[in-house]
């Protein structure tokens, strides 16, 4: 994939809620609070958009200015691990607001956390490989912009 920054953002904003939203409801039923998973998704989305700026910079170091799947997976693992560490750190030091950091007050164990984020990434990745191209026939030529 040869995503541009705008493309990365637009694709994230479309696909993360789409895939992650449904999965949050499902995981809520299985592991308790759907809100916690939705909040996790929200933080991932926001921090991911910041990471996207870094990735776009790194991408220009590559001759092809591309971002192959193995890099996408690697960076996704990093994003999730980073998020996990931040949540743990925040929990250890007490949340900054009395109500907790929105939604993240209820605990998500490492297994549901990993499973949820893994499935979200996999779902998003698969959608980008195929259906996105059918839904938005110009998307692949526009660095991932669909708007």
């Amino acid at each position: 994939m040869t995503l541009t920054l705008k493309g990365r953002w637009q694709t994230r904003l479309l696909l993360y809620p789409l895939v992650g939203g449904g999965l949050a409801v499902l995981f809520g039923l299985l592991f308790g609070s759907a809100g916690a998973f939705a909040a996790l998704l929200g933080y991932w989305l926001l921090s991911g958009m910041v990471w996207d700026v870094v990735y776009t910079g790194l991408q220009t170091l590559r001759w092809d200015h591309d971002w192959p799947p193995w890099l996408a997976l690697l960076t996704a693992v990093w994003e999730v691990v980073f998020l996990w560490l931040v949540v743990q750190l925040a929990r250890a030091n007490g949340f900054p607001t009395p109500s907790g950091l929105w939604g993240l007050k209820s605990r998500i164990g490492p297994l549901p956390f990993g499973l949820y984020s893994g499935l979200v990434w996999w779902g998003v990745f698969l959608l980008m490989q195929g259906p996105m191209r059918v839904l938005f026939p110009r998307w692949r030529f526009r660095g991932g912009q669909w708007l």
Binding site: T2, L3, T4, T56, Q59, T60, L61, R62, W63, D64, H65, D66, P68, P69, W70, L73, Q129, G130, P131, R133, V134, L135, F136, P137, R138, R140, F141, R142, G143
Partner: protein, 639 residues
């Protein structure tokens, strides 16, 4: 001191350029140089040619990447006529220092041969113009309809007309029909019955059989405008059905790890052709295509265009016809095979078409002879075609170890091209990248960048991103490394003086690194010119006429200037619109014009533009139509 004359090749197109100037001549990237060269590998003030007594000296002005004379890096050197020197990606030849300016045109016509698909050997000259198209085509800028009606030729009409009939035309027609055009309102004129016909022949001649892989990506599918499912997925599916689980897994790994952890996936030529064949049937191509050689295009008085073309009649004679259309598309492909001047001169002098061949000609006899008798092949050029030829010789070596290759390059490549902070890798003087352009040129930041920069910056980007490269295919790189180790593959650098026959062999006389006292012989049984295809508009009589008649603007690479929607804006005629795609548009605002995906992109942009212009029968191709059409594609029913 008489002025000096230099010729050099455009690093992207190979087109010959000439400069005749009085000494001293300064060369660099900055505009104030006598000769300014557009590439990041050229320093702002790079080198200077000066007179010293009656000699010409080239001096490196402290450039970053240096000056190579006859293949060797120098600080300063005396140049004699016929010497070659290299600055960045530009390779220069020094010409006789005569006062008289020799026109460069004569040489230009010698560097390529017109491509006639009916012949295995390229014709020496383009076919002579007969009295068709009629004289009034020369008289008018806009031909009145009544004048056309008065002519003794059949006059037909259509809505959408594409000229060329190859993959560029096919991609355009595929989009139009999927966007809603009815096949009976679309006409494609060309000489090959199959849209992939010419590609298939060129591939076969350059030793890419249907079971070899093309240098193309999985989702560049001329048969599917969405690029999904790509060729990789389809091949995996077939592997799974046939129980070849290991191979399916291998493809999955390629898709995941390419181009770093695994070799880039490339589709089998046979699979691509079969897929296009299927799509051609689905969109009604056999009813859309008709045989014909297009002779001329003119604007008409009723905001349309008239296209004059010739067919071969039943008795073998020519039948001339005219056809009118308001929407035109030109995708005639490469008009010529590039041919090195010294090899062409040798062939014209000796009529020896057997031992000196072009990689794009049918030349299987070379490999057959090598297997039977052994021998040496001299390869010129260093693109993917040269790599495949060397690999093919390697295959022949399995049956006869007494075969060797001398690869003659004009100059070594030490530094890969540069862009921003990225650099293109170099292996054994071959520059390596998966496809013929960096990937982001198709749909990433590089495509956007090229669209918005001014012309001279575009020229520089094209020079630095393009050029001659090979894919980092393990089979190619390993063949080259093995060959170098085992000694049957040798790389030599030098400027060719001439080629002649000596003691039943071909002797290439060169100057340069391998030279002993200025001249050296490289002896071989065969010489294969693998320098590629040429796309100067001048080689195509139709385009030459069109550009001259309407004074159409050229782009930075001297090709047809087209808009970002691939419209030839100089051809507007009221509501009438002309589009172009493929190699003839190289140098406009999109780089990978001659790739599968590039042709599809061009088709998409021009189809979207036609929708905006309110062209009849076409509907906006939004999400719902796209999904509906994809489902029709998947079921194999007509759009």
């Amino acid at each position: 001191m008489p002025p000096i004359r230099l010729t050099w090749e455009d690093p992207l197109t190979g087109d010959e350029q000439t400069l005749t100037a009085a000494l001293p001549v300064s060369i660099g990237r900055a505009a104030e140089n006598t000769l300014s060269l557009n590439s990041k590998l050229v320093s702002r003030r790079h080198a200077r040619l000066e007179a010293e007594g009656n000699r010409v000296i080239i001096r490196d002005l402290g450039s970053t990447n240096g000056v190579l004379v006859n293949g060797r890096k120098v600080k300063s050197a005396a140049l004699r006529e016929g010497d070659g020197f290299k600055i960045g990606p530009f390779y220069f030849t020094v010409h006789p220092l005569a006062e008289a300016e020799t026109p460069a045109r004569d040489e230009k016509t010698l560097t390529a041969a017109a491509f006639d698909p009916d012949q295995t050997v390229p014709a020496a000259r383009p076919p002579r113009a007969s009295r068709f198209p009629p004289a009034l085509f020369d008289e008018y800028q806009i031909v009145p309809l009544e004048a056309l009606r008065a002519l003794p030729y059949p006059l037909e009409e259509t809505t959408y007309l594409t000229i060329g009939g190859g993959l560029g035309s096919f991609a355009w027609v595929d989009h139009l029909v999927i966007y809603g055009a009815r096949p009976e309102n679309v006409v494609a004129i060309g000489v090959e019955e199959k849209p992939y016909g010419r590609l298939q022949r060129l591939a076969a001649n350059s030793q890419i059989s249907e079971s070899e892989r093309l240098r193309s990506n999985s989702d560049a599918c001329p048969d599917n405008l969405w690029g999904w499912p790509g060729y990789a997925l389809r091949e995996m599916w077939r592997d799974l059905r046939d129980g070849r689980f290991g191979h399916a897994l291998h493809i999955a790994w390629q898709l995941f790890g390419e181009p770093d952890l695994a070799e880039t996936y490339t589709p089998l030529a046979g699979d691509v052709f079969a897929a296009i064949e299927r799509e051609a049937g689905r969109i009604g191509w056999p009813r859309i295509w008709r045989f014909g050689r297009v002779r001329a295009i003119r604007k008409t008085g009723d905001e349309r265009y008239v296209v004059a073309y010739s067919q071969t009649g039943r008795g073998g004679g020519r039948v001339h016809k005219l056809i009118l259309a308001p929407y035109l598309h030109i995708a005639v492909g490469y008009p010529a095979i590039r041919f090195l001047p010294d090899l062409r001169a040798y062939r014209e002098r000796t009529r020896d078409f057997e031992h000196v061949v072009n990689a794009y000609e049918q030349h299987d006899h070379v490999y057959q002879h090598l297997v039977r008798h052994g021998g040496t092949v001299l390869v010129r050029g260093r693109g993917a075609t040269a790599a495949r030829v060397i690999q093919r010789v390697h295959e022949a070596r399995a049956r006869n170890a007494d075969i060797s290759v001398v690869h003659l390059m004009r100059a070594p490549v030490f530094e890969g091209s540069r862009f921003g902070r990225a650099r293109r890798p170099v292996h054994h003087h071959w520059e390596v990248q998966p496809f013929n352009w960096p990937k982001a040129c198709w749909g990433g930041d590089m495509r956007f960048l090229l669209e918005r920069v001014p012309a001279d910056e575009r020229d520089q980007l094209l020079n630095d991103w393009g050029g001659i490269t090979i894919a980092g295919r393990r089979d190619w790189i390993e063949t080259i490394e093995r060959g170098l180790q085992e000694g049957w593959y040798k790389i030599r650098f030098g400027q060719v003086e001439s080629v002649r026959r000596e003691n039943g062999k071909l002797a290439t006389i060169i100057r340069g690194k391998t030279a002993i006292e200025g001249v050296s012989h490289l002896v071989a049984d065969f010489i294969i010119d693998a320098t590629g295809l040429a796309a100067q508009l001048e080689y195509n009589p139709l385009l030459r006429d069109l550009v001259e008649h309407y004074r159409l603007p050229r782009n930075v690479k001297n090709r047809l200037s087209v808009s970002t929607d691939f419209e030839v804006e100089g051809m507007r005629n009221g509501r009438g619109r002309v589009y172009a795609s493929g190699s003839i548009t190289l140098g406009s605002r999109f780089a990978p014009v001659d790739s599968f995906l590039g042709l599809q992109y061009a088709a998409q942009r021009s189809a979207d533009h036609l929708v905006k212009e309110g062209a009849p029968g076409l509907r906006p191709f939004g999400m719902l139509r796209s999904v509906a059409q994809w489902l029709r594609w998947a079921r194999g029913v007509s759009p």
